[in-house]
Amino acid sequence: MKSNRREFLKLAAVSAMGVGAARLGFLGDAPAFAGPLPTAADFEKGFKAKHWGMAVFSAKFTPELIEKCRTACHTEHNVPDIPGKKQIKWFWGASYHEAFPTEQGQFLSEDVEHREFPLLCNHCEQPMCVRVCPTQATFQRPDGIVMMDFHRCIGCRYCMAGCPFGARSFNFQDPRPFIHNFNPHYPTRMRGVVEKCDFCAERLAIGKLPVCVEAAGGALVFGDLGDENSDIRKVLREHFAIRRKPDAGTSPSVYYIL
């Protein structure tokens, strides 16, 4: 019995060392963030849609959940973490009055008025940024995604002036020194390029939902607005939803359920 306990303690000590060593993996050669590389077969089962859209169950969003989605998005896309005015944002949170300045509700429900709303590029049906881009670096795909071709961006920032939602950020400096959670499978940007959310076009191409949708755990519904039977159309049929700044006339594809 005594020797058994001795053996057990020895084994426990060795196991503990093993666990400890495994946890020190960040010192080893594992990259900061990387799954297996997508193969050509993965790209064959990509999602297709007539018009991609998103519905936001805003009541389910807490500042913590917004932060979780933001981190997931920014890690996936190598978005630099720059504090202050030069901040780059693909996904962020804002108050009701920032998010819906044209709603002008006077006696609002306190719950809604003090809620933080997750914001991202609205992937408008009539995108202002696409109309003003002189090089067609920002363009609209047939499936509704307002996409950026970073190769073509000359950094004129017309799109930033054009976007009514502030969904675009400019790289005033080389972003690479500010990328803390690095994903080697996705490129970075360079100085003088505008960037924004692209509805995870590279993930949809391999049959995966956008990372924010995965991180939100049901609070974000992503799907085909052009398909009557899709989840998102079902959600929008059952819940009253508004869009940001309808008077801008851009017809956003992101719907907010209050």
């Binding site: 990259p31 990387a34 997508p38 190598n78 190769h151 400096q173 500010f178 080697p184 970075t188 360079m190």
Partner: protein, 138 residues
């Protein structure tokens, strides 16, 4: 001809000067040896096609992948590859310095692909690496 005693030696000197590089390199072979991946035999296309046209192929890839969403490349033998500089090309050619740079440096071209694209799908940190400080200046 006026001043022939100055002009003719001058022309000869000028000709000698511009042919110095030709003479300097005469007889030397121009041979760059990029290091090929040891665990793979075939590239996406034949060696000669890759040598002559890799820049056009990459240009077609970026346009068709980003703008048209066509992300699968079918090569002349019918094999499929993902259109990705970092994940496909550099996933195989693991050391950019020993492959890309050897030719590019020799012929004096400086493509700006790697201002944004990562040099291997296993890269641990961006280059230049993340700063620890929080300053955001130029």
């Amino acid at each position: 001809m006026y001043n022939a005693k100055y002009i003719i030696p001058g022309i000869l000197f000028f000709l000698a000067l511009i042919f110095v590089p030709v003479g300097y390199n005469m007889g030397k072979s121009f041979d760059v040896k990029p290091e090929l991946p040891k665990d793979q035999k075939d590239c996406i296309e034949d060696v000669q096609v890759m040598r002559d046209k890799h820049m056009q192929i990459l240009n077609d890839w970026r346009n068709s992948a980003v703008r048209d969403g066509e992300r699968i490349y079918v090569n002349s033998k019918g094999k499929k590859y993902v259109k990705s500089l970092t994940n496909t090309c550099l996933g195989c050619h693991k050391d950019k310095a020993k492959f890309c740079d050897r030719c590019h440096d020799t012929v004096g071209v400086n493509p700006y692909c790697f201002d944004c694209h990562n040099i291997t799908p296993n890269q641990k940190s961006p280059i230049p690496p993340a700063q620890t400080g929080e300053e955001g200046g130029h």
